[in-house]
C-alpha cells in the first residue's frame, strides 16, 4: 500500500474508496523534511492565540451546559463557521486538491457528494435536533425510550465512531507534520494529543468552538489566497486554465470527464449514502446543533456552514486545476527533477507545492500551519464528543441515573478527555506503520448505519420502541463493522487475504437497510406495556420537536 492513499484517507473525509481513486501507487516512503521555520513560527502564533482563548473560556466554563455546549451561547454565524471547520479537515484541502490534480472532474463530483448532505440535514433534522436535544444526540434517541439501555447503545456507537475517526486523524497528523514541519512522528503525536487535551479540559466547548472558528477563517483565507494568486497566472480565465490543463495532463480531454470514481453504480450510491447520512450521524457534528440558543440559530448555522463549504469546494477545484499546470510542469517539485514522476512529499502535497510556487516560503508556511491547526481543531471536537458520551450518557444518566452533581459530571468528562487523549497518543504511536485507511470509512459507515437510523426514526416514527432501537442500533453497528472487516480495505489490505469476502468498500447501502429493518421489525413485535407507553409518549415529543416548547434555551436568555 503506498503512502498516498494512506494519508489521503487517514486525514479525515476521504473514505476508504479514496485508495481506489487516488491514482496509481506512487511507492516509496515519505522523507522527513528539513525543519520549516516559517510554518513553525506561524503555528506557534496560532497556538498562542488559542491558548489565550482557552484561558478566557476557562473562566466562563463552570456548569455542564458551559462545558458541553458553551452555554448554548454561540451565534448562528459563529456556529456555521465552526461546523464548516469541523467538516473541512486537512484532507479536504490536501486530499481533494490532489484528487482534482490527478483525476480532474472526479474530484469535483466527490466534493458535491460531501456537500449534498447539508441541505438534507437542514430540511429534515436541524430544528428537531435543536428542539429535542441538550448535550448529546442520545438525548434525542433516549427521549421517550429506556434511558439506561438506549443511552448505553448510543454511547457505544458514538465512542466507536469517535475512536476510529480520532485514530485516523492522529496517524494522519503525525505523518503530515513530520512532512511539513520536519518534526519527529512521535513528537508530532504528543503535541497534537496534549494540545487537544488542554483545549478540551480547560476550555470545553467554548474553546473548542473558537479554535474551530479561527482555523476555519485561516483555511478559507489561505485557500482563497492561493487560488487567487494561481488564477492570476491565467488572467482569471477558466477557459485558459482548462485549455492549458487538458493540454498538459496525461488524461488529456478526458480530464473533464467522469472517470473511474463512480463507474460502479453500487459503489457510487453506497458512497453517496454513506457520506450524506454518515455526516448526519457524526457525534461531533450533531453536538454542534446544541451550542446555539434555539432552532432559528440552528437553521442559520447550517445556512452559513453550507455556504462556506460550498464556496471552499469550488476554490479547491480551481486549486487542483491550477496545480496541474503550475506544479505539474515544474521539475523542482518532483523527485529527481523528473516532471510527471513522483511529487516530493507524495501525491497529497499539490496544494502545498502550489502555495510555494505562487507565494513563496511564507505562504507555504502559512498553509502548513493551517493544516496543523485544522488537525488540532478536528481532534478537539472529536475528543469533546467522546468525553460527553462517557460523562453525560454513561456516567450521569446510566450509572448515576441522573443524580450526579454538575461538578462531578464535569470532573468525569475531564478524566474521560485525559483517557481519550492518552488512548489517542498510544494508539497513534502503535499504528504509525499500519494501514489505517479503512478507519475513516468505518467511522462514516458506523455513523450512517448505527447512529443515523435510530436517530431519524426516534424523531419521525411514533412506533419506535426501546427494543426496536436497540436492535436497530446494535444491528447497524455490527453489520457496518463486519462489512468493512470483510471488505478489501481490511480483509485484503490489513489481514492479508487474497480476496475480499464482501465485494464493496462502502458499507452504507447494505448496513443502513439492516438497521432500519431490525428497528422496524422489533418495534412492531414489541407488545409490552412499556412499548405502548413509549409510543404514546411520542405525541408530546412531537409537539416539542415542532415548536421547541420545553427545549433548553441559552443560559443568558
Amino acid at each position: 500500500m503506498s503512502r498516498l492513499p494512506r494519508i489521503g484517507t487517514a486525514l479525515g473525509l476521504l473514505t476508504a474508496s479514496a485508495s481506489a481513486i487516488a491514482g496509481p501507487p506512487l511507492g516509496g516512503i515519505m522523507e522527513k523534511q528539513p525543519t520549516n521555520w516559517h510554518a513553525i513560527i506561524m503555528f506557534c502564533l496560532f497556538v498562542g492565540l488559542t491558548m489565550g482563548i482557552t484561558y478566557w473560556a476557562a473562566s466562563r466554563t463552570k456548569s455542564t451546559s458551559d462545558f458541553y455546549t458553551a452555554g448554548s451561547d454561540i451565534t448562528g454565524f459563529q456556529n456555521g463557521l465552526a461546523i464548516a471547520g469541523d467538516y473541512m479537515s486537512a484532507a479536504t484541502l490536501l486530499g481533494l486538491s490532489a484528487m482534482v490534480y490527478g483525476q480532474g472532474y472526479d474530484g469535483y463530483i466527490y466534493m458535491l457528494a460531501f456537500f449534498a448532505g447539508w441541505p438534507i440535514i437542514l430540511f429534515l433534522m436541524a430544528e428537531r435536533l435543536r428542539n429535542l436535544g441538550r448535550f448529546t444526540f442520545s438525548d434525542i434517541t433516549a427521549y421517550r425510550l429506556d434511558q439506561g439501555k438506549v443511552r448505553t447503545m448510543a454511547a457505544i456507537s458514538s465512542l466507536t465512531v469517535v475512536c476510529f475517526y480520532l485514530l485516523a486523524q492522529m496517524v494522519g497528523a503525525g505523518q503530515l507534520i513530520k512532512l511539513l514541519f520536519g518534526l519527529e512522528y512521535r513528537v508530532a503525536i504528543f503535541i497534537v494529543g496534549i494540545l487537544m487535551m488542554f483545549y478540551v479540559i480547560f476550555g470545553g466547548m467554548m474553546a473548542t468552538t473558537w479554535v474551530q472558528i479561527i482555523k476555519a477563517c485561516m483555511l478559507l483565507f489561505g485557500g482563497t489566497l492561493v487560488m487567487l494568486l494561481a488564477m492570476s497566472q491565467f488572467g482569471f480565465s477558466y477557459h485558459v486554465l482548462v485549455e492549458r490543463a487538458t493540454a498538459v495532463h496525461k488524461l488529456g480531454p478526458k480530464l473533464m470527464y467522469p472517470g473511474s470514481l463512480l463507474a460502479d453504480p453500487v459503489t457510487a450510491i453506497s458512497l453517496g449514502l454513506g457520506l450524506m447520512f454518515g455526516t448526519a450521524g457524526l457525534p461531533h457534528i450533531l453536538m454542534r446543533f446544541f451550542t446555539v440558543s434555539n432552532a432559528k440559530e440552528a437553521r442559520r448555522s447550517v445556512l452559513y456552514a453550507s455556504g462556506f463549504v460550498s464556496y471552499f469546494f469550488n476554490v479547491i477545484f480551481l486549486i487542483g486545476l491550477c496545480g496541474i499546470i503550475i506544479v505539474g510542469q515544474d521539475p523542482t517539485f518532483f523527485e529527481g527533477g523528473k516532471v510527471g514522476g513522483k511529487l516530493i512529499g507524495g501525491g497529497n502535497m499539490v496544494a502545498m507545492h502550489l502555495a510555494k510556487a505562487v507565494g513563496g516560503n511564507m505562504l507555504l508556511g502559512f498553509l502548513a500551519a493551517v493544516a496543523f491547526a485544522t488537525i488540532l481543531a478536528v481532534v478537539s471536537g472529536l475528543a469533546l464528543a467522546g468525553a460527553s458520551a462517557i460523562s453525560h450518557d454513561l456516567y450521569a444518566r446510566v450509572i448515576m441515573k441522573g443524580k450526579a452533581s454538575e461538578i462531578t459530571e464535569i470532573r468525569v468528562s475531564k478524566i474521560a478527555t485525559i483517557c481519550l487523549g492518552i488512548v489517542a497518543i498510544v494508539l497513534g504511536i502503535l499504528f504509525e506503520k499500519q494501514n489505517i485507511a479503512f478507519m475513516v470509512g468505518l467511522a462514516f459507515g458506523v455513523a450512517a448505519a448505527a447512529n443515523f437510523p435510530v436517530l431519524i426514526l426516534s424523531m419521525y416514527w411514533r412506533g419506535l420502541t426501546t427494543r426496536g432501537a436497540l436492535w436497530g442500533g446494535y444491528g447497524g453497528l455490527f453489520s457496518a463493522v463486519i462489512f468493512v472487516v470483510l471488505s478489501k480495505s481490511v480483509w485484503v489490505d490489513v489481514v492479508g487475504r487474497k480476496a475480499a469476502l464482501f465485494p464493496y468498500t462502502q458499507p452504507a447501502l447494505f448496513a443502513m437497510p439492516i438497521a432500519f429493518l431490525l428497528a422496524y421489525l422489533f418495534s412492531k413485535l414489541d407488545g409490552s406495556a412499556r412499548a405502548k407507553a413509549e409510543i404514546e409518549a411520542f405525541e408530546d415529543q412531537y409537539v416539542r420537536a415542532q415548536t421547541g416548547f420545553g427545549a433548553s434555551t441559552s443560559t443568558k436568555h
Binding site: Y105, Y108, I109, L112, A113, F115, A116, W118, P119, I120, L122, F123, L124, E127, Y238, H239, L241, V242, E243, T246, P253, K254, M256, Y257, P258, G259, L262, A263, D264, P265, A268, I269, G272, A295, K296, R299, R300, V302, L303, S306, G307, S310, F313, N314, E539, D540, Y542, V543, R544, Q546, T547, G548, F549, G550
Partner: protein, 106 residues
C-alpha cells in the same frame, strides 16, 4: 402540566396547519435535492460521456462542470429559501401557538 400544555398545542388547529405546511415545504425541498443529486449520480454511472461535452461548441466549460456548479449554488439557495421561511413565517406561527397555549394555562 407540561403534558397538558403539549396536549393543548397539539389540538390547536394552528399547530396542525404549521406542521402540515412546514412538513410539505421541507419534504418538497428535500426531494428536489435528493432527486437532482441521485439523478446526477446515475448519469455519472451510466452516461459519463454526456458530462464531458462542452456546453457551447468550442468552449472549455463542460456540461458536467456547469451542472455541478449550478447544483452547488442552487442547493445553497434552497437552504436560504428554507431558512428564510422557517425563521419568518413558521417561527411566528410557532410563537403564536405557544402563547395561546400558555394563556389558556393561566
Amino acid at each position: 402540566m407540561s403534558s397538558e400544555m403539549y396536549e393543548r398545542m397539539r389540538t390547536d388547529p394552528k399547530f396542525q396547519r404549521l406542521v402540515a405546511r412546514r412538513g410539505r415545504f421541507a419534504w418538497t425541498l428535500a426531494f428536489i435535492v435528493l432527486g437532482m443529486f441521485y439523478g446526477f449520480v446515475l448519469v455519472v454511472a451510466f452516461k459519463p460521456a454526456l458530462l464531458g461535452r462542452p456546453l457551447v461548441a468550442g468552449g472549455m466549460l463542460t456540461i458536467g462542470v456547469a451542472v455541478e456548479l449550478f447544483m452547488f449554488i442552487f442547493f445553497w439557495v434552497l437552504t436560504a429559501v428554507y431558512v428564510r421561511r422557517a425563521n419568518g413565517e413558521f417561527d411566528e406561527m410557532t410563537q403564536e401557538i405557544v402563547k395561546a397555549a400558555q394563556k389558556e394555562n393561566k
